[in-house]
Structures are given as C-alpha cells and as structure tokens.
C-alpha cells in the first residue's frame, strides 16, 4: 500500500500506534476545555483496543487528533504526541498527514447516514477513497469498490454500487463505511461509536464483520464506545476514560472481572447481566459527568464516587499498576474497589 517506508525505530516490539501523554485543550469563551488531559495508550497489529467512557470523556477527541481532524485553533496541544510505527504524527506537516489518512489509518463514524455525502453514489465515494491513495484508473477503483461491498456482506453489490446513501438501510450504510475505510488496507482502524446509531441486532452483525475483517487483514482496531456490552465480546484490552483522563486500563478480563477503579466498578454495577442466575439491584452512578471546562480538583470522579475520601480531593491519582503488570488504575482506593467487587460477584 502507499505511504512512505516506515523505519521501525524502536524495534519489533514497538506498538503500531502509540499515544503518549497527549493533551488536547480548547480555548473557548468559557475557559479552557481540557478535552484530553494526559492520555497514553497503544495498540498493536491485529489487536482490538476499546476506549470506554461517557459522552464528554474525551474519547472521540483523542481519536480525531490522531487523524488530524481536530481544527488547530481553537485546539491546542500543550504536550504529548502520537506515533505511528515510531513516526510522530503531530509534528508531521499537513501534507504528509493527509497521505496517511485513509491509507494507513482510517476512521469510521457514528452516524453513517450523515457521514456519507448524500449527493454522490456510494460506489463513487468508495472509489474516491481508493484513488486518493492508489494510482489506479477509475475503472479499477470501481472494481475494487465492488469487491469491497461484497466483502462487507452487502447483497447485490453491483446494484448497490450505483445507489445513493439514503437508499441503504442503517446497517448497510455502516457496512459501506467500513468498506470505504478498509479500501486501502489501513494498519489501524479507528471506530468511533460504530454501532450506537444502529439496532441491537444489526450491532452484533457489524461487530462480527469487524472481527472477521480484522482476522483477514490483521488490522488494529481502536473501538471507541460507551457501550460496555459491545466491548465485552470484542475487545482485547480496554481503557476506561473519565473527564479527559484514563482511569483504568487492562485486558478485557481484568476490567470486567477485577475492576480497580471506582468508576469502572460503577459502570459494571449499572450493567444488567444476562449471564448471572440472580440479578442484583442495578446501581446507577449518581450525578452527571463534569463539564470539561471545570474539572473537579483532585480525582475528577470524586463528586460522584461512593469510595471517595479526603485523599481523593487533594491531588490527581496517578495511573499505577495494580497487579505488577499491565493492569493499571488511577484510584487511591483500588483495594476497596476490589473488595466491593468481590462481594458483589459472590452475591450473584
């Protein structure tokens, strides 16, 4: 595929895509909005990383920053960087960034109806993606679009190729978007709430499709969502974000079975579990997420936290390992959270 030869500076163990201490602040009339405030994560080939959080947690902004889709005023990047195979993306000139967009890193968005241009045919839009990064004829590009539509499971692709987005159903549109995103075989696929606008049954289909495509192409997927249910079946690793920061990070098993942050615990307690014999009361998290212009002092979750003490007000807890390996949490009371979770699990 296109894209200049990448020199693997850090050796074979370097992550495919790495975000290091990224901060994205917006200057607004209401003050500085800290959309992303010191976030680090990485994803490797063939892996699925889920970034979970409520609306306003900064998860979408971090993804869009990777692609350079965040307009630079009013956004500022006080610190941090993004690395694709060791190359800094934020320091790259715009022209080079553009070469990567759609060829090495692709993104699919939440609402496929508004994300596709209504006045162009679907096939043309996919072909455009191909021709933007590959030097092929219109004919070849269209053929490729046809193949892609078939690959993502759209029936009757030859007819669909010449139709307009509003003639597709919701699920088909999202498949078309996925086809478009994968047209140039990107290394990384960023999926921003890909199933939120879809019916539940269609959601499962789309996620299964993504999984299959990932197996076929060894693509890394960064799945951004607020839906823990979707995450449970498909994610390898999970980052939980709150108020612009990562509050817990670990494998899917670790997060679901051994949560260590009060917020994660809260999220899990509010999830209905169909796989348990007895259902405990659902415990919603009281309150609402803070405005990113006015993040509370200390741990940003403390106003809503049932475990909060004075220690939580003084300074922001650091993200530290809770098991000596890669499972980390930014909570002073992670052991109390562990206990509470065990009690709850035992009771079910």
């Amino acid at each position: 595929m296109t894209g200049s030869a990448d020199i693997d500076l850090d050796g074979p163990s370097a992550p495919l895509l790495e975000v290091r201490d990224l901060k994205v602040h917006f200057k607004t009339d209401y003050g500085i909005v800290k959309a992303v405030d010191g976030v680090s994560w990485h994803v490797n080939e063939g892996e699925t990383l889920a970034i979970v959080g409520e609306s306003g947690s900064g998860k979408s902004v971090s993804a869009m920053t990777i692609l350079g889709l965040v307009p630079a005023p009013p956004a500022t990047f006080p610190s941090g960087d993004v690395f694709l195979r060791g190359r800094s993306l934020l320091k790259m000139p715009e022209k080079q960034q553009r070469k990567l967009r759609g060829s090495q890193i692709s993104m699919i968005f939440q609402d496929p109806l508004t994300a596709l241009n209504p006045v162009f045919r679907v096939g043309d839009q996919i072909a455009e993606m191909v021709r933007a990064h590959q030097d092929v004829s219109k004919h070849t590009a269209k053929k490729r679009a046809l193949d892609l539509l078939g690959e993502v499971g759209i029936p009757n692709p030859a007819v669909r190729l010449n139709q307009y987005p509003h003639e597709f159903s919701g699920g088909m549109r999202q498949r078309a978007m996925i086809a478009m995103a994968l047209a140039n075989d990107p290394h990384v696929l960023l999926a921003d709430e890909p199933t939120t606008a879809l019916d539940v049954t269609v959601q499962a289909q789309i996620m299964a499709l993504l999984e299959k495509l990932q197996e076929d192409r060894n693509t890394a997927i960064v799945l951004i969502t607020h839906d823990l249910g979707v995450v449970a079946s498909y994610a390898d690793r999970i980052n939980v974000m709150y108020a612009g920061r990562i509050v817990e990070s670990g494998t899917a098993d670790e997060i679901f079975y051994e949560p260590r942050h009060a917020y994660t615990f809260g999220l899990l307690s509010s999830l209905p579990r169909m796989d348990k014999a007895r259902q405990l009361r659902l415990e919603p998290i009281k309150g609402i997420p803070p405005s990113l212009a006015k993040v509370p002092q200390g741990c940003p979750f403390n106003p809503r936290c049932t475990f909060a003490t004075d220690a939580c007000l003084s300074e922001v807890p650091a993200l530290v390992s809770v098991n000596g390996a890669d499972h980390s949490a930014a909570c002073v009371h992670s052991d109390r959270v562990a206990m509470a979770h065990e009690e709850r699990a035992a009771a079910q």
Binding site: D29, Y30, A293
Partner: protein, 319 residues
Amino acid sequence: MTTSEPADMATAAQSVIVTSAHEDPDPGLAPDKVGKERSRSQFADMWRRYRRNKLAMVGLVVVTALVVIAIIQPLISPYDPYDQNLINTLAPPGGDHLMGTDSLGRDLYSELLYGLRLALIVGIATMLGSLIVGVALGAIAGYRGRFWDGLIMRITDIFLAFPYLIGALLIVRTFGTGVTQVIIALVVLGWSTGARLMRGQMLALREAEYVEAARSIGASDWRIVVRHILPNAIQPVFIYSFTSIGVAVVAMASLAYLGVGVPPDTPEWGRLINQGIEQVQVAGKDYLWIYPSAAICLTTLAFAFMADGLRDSLDPKLR
C-alpha cells in the same frame, strides 16, 4: 429545503437567506459569563440578544428616529412642502433653505420630510395589509391542509407569478393615481410571500409534539392555533414584515419615478429623484436627486438591519 411548488422556491430561497445569511453574532462583543443562572422572561432574553448586535441597534435607533420625525413632521417642517416659489428656484443648499430648492422653488428639506412621512405611512400600511391577508390565508392553508391548502396555494402561485413592480404598475394605472391605490396595489402584489411563509410554518408546527399534547388534553382547534402555534409560526413572517416595509417604500418610489402612483406634484422621494435628474444638466444640482436617494437608502437599510437583528435575536440556536 424540500419544496415542490413553483413559487415556494422564492420563499425557500428567502428563508435560507433569512436564516443563514447573517450567521455570526457581531464579533466585537464580550462573551457571556457561563454559570450565571438567569431566570428572565423570553422577551428580556430576546432584548438582550438584540442589544448585543450593533448593526441591529443602529437600525432600531434610526427607525425610531425616522418614525418620530415622520410623526412630528407637520411641526418641524420649515416650509410647506407644496409651497412653490418661482422666484427662488434651484437655490443651492444653505441660507434659508437647508437643502436648497427644487425647480418649482419648493424647499427640498421640507419635501424630504414630507416624503418620509408618506413613505412610512405607505410602507407600514402595506406591511399591515399584507400581513393580515397573508397570515390569515397562510394559517388556514397550513392548518386545514388538503383542499384549503391546495386552493390557497394555487391562488398565491398566481399572484406570485406576476412580476411585482409590473403588477403594481398595472393596478395603479387601472385604478387611478392616489396613495390609497398604491397601498392596495402593493398589498395585492405582496401578500403572497407572507402567506407562503406562514403556511410553511403552520405545516411544520402542526405536527409538533406539543400540539399533540395540547390536543390530547382536549384543547379546541382554535385554541391550539392561537395559543400554541401562532406565536411560533408568526416569527419568520414578523421578521419579514420589517424587510417588507423597506420593499414597499422602494416600490412606491420606483412607481413614482416612472411617473405613476402618487399624484404628480406630491413630494415623494421617487418623484423627487425623477425631477432632480432632469435638473442635472444644470451644473452642480446633483443634490436634488442625491438627497432623496440617500433618504431611501437610509430607510431601507435601517429596516433591513432591524430585520436581521430580530432574526438573530429570536433564534436561540445562533447564540
């Protein structure tokens, strides 16, 4: 903008202009401080938003000034605008005559004042007439739907198909000269735009959820229309009516320029321009047509600024 009728385009285009042309609030203003809880009435909110728009305030001030001047015109006019003084024709500005005299020796300043009064009377009368007819018919069409909608819309189509000025010209020629005739002509040609706007709003709001809610508690049709729909539906029409005053003033002036409409010796701005131009051959008499032209511009712009400002202040989304 999914319309399928001919003249809907004009209104649709109009409404796109109206809603999307003046997007930004005035860039030179201090931002509102977030977090301060304000519990004010809707009007106070509107007024606050309006006040921040410098152009709109200028418009408001100018329009108010013009209205006041027009009302007290008989008192402040230095001369009777009809008073001819054939000894002192074409006097330059200055001295006894602030703006000089025209070819019949009339004081230009007094003529302008009278013209303002006339323009505002005709403008506002036309606006009211068009508003009443347009809103009534538009509301019926929008609310009743189907048969009434079809019938009324065909009628508005017919009236919209007539070119504005030409239609007005014909009506005035047919019914004779006079201010009343001009007003009637302009209303006949102008009501259809308001009707379209109103109907569009009605159609949209009729389906709104709060209307269903009102119906479900047993409110009568009439009550629903008047109390719930009308206050919202009438907004675009209300905004447009300010612009339409300017349109009417210009139309009357255009007719008078062509020699039609008001009686030939009326000191009307368009008429003054016509007469002024004839005198341009005499050196240095440009002011004879420039002053009335400026008066028309000033009036039209002031109303246009107000209309813009009203639109911005009524639409909370733009804030």
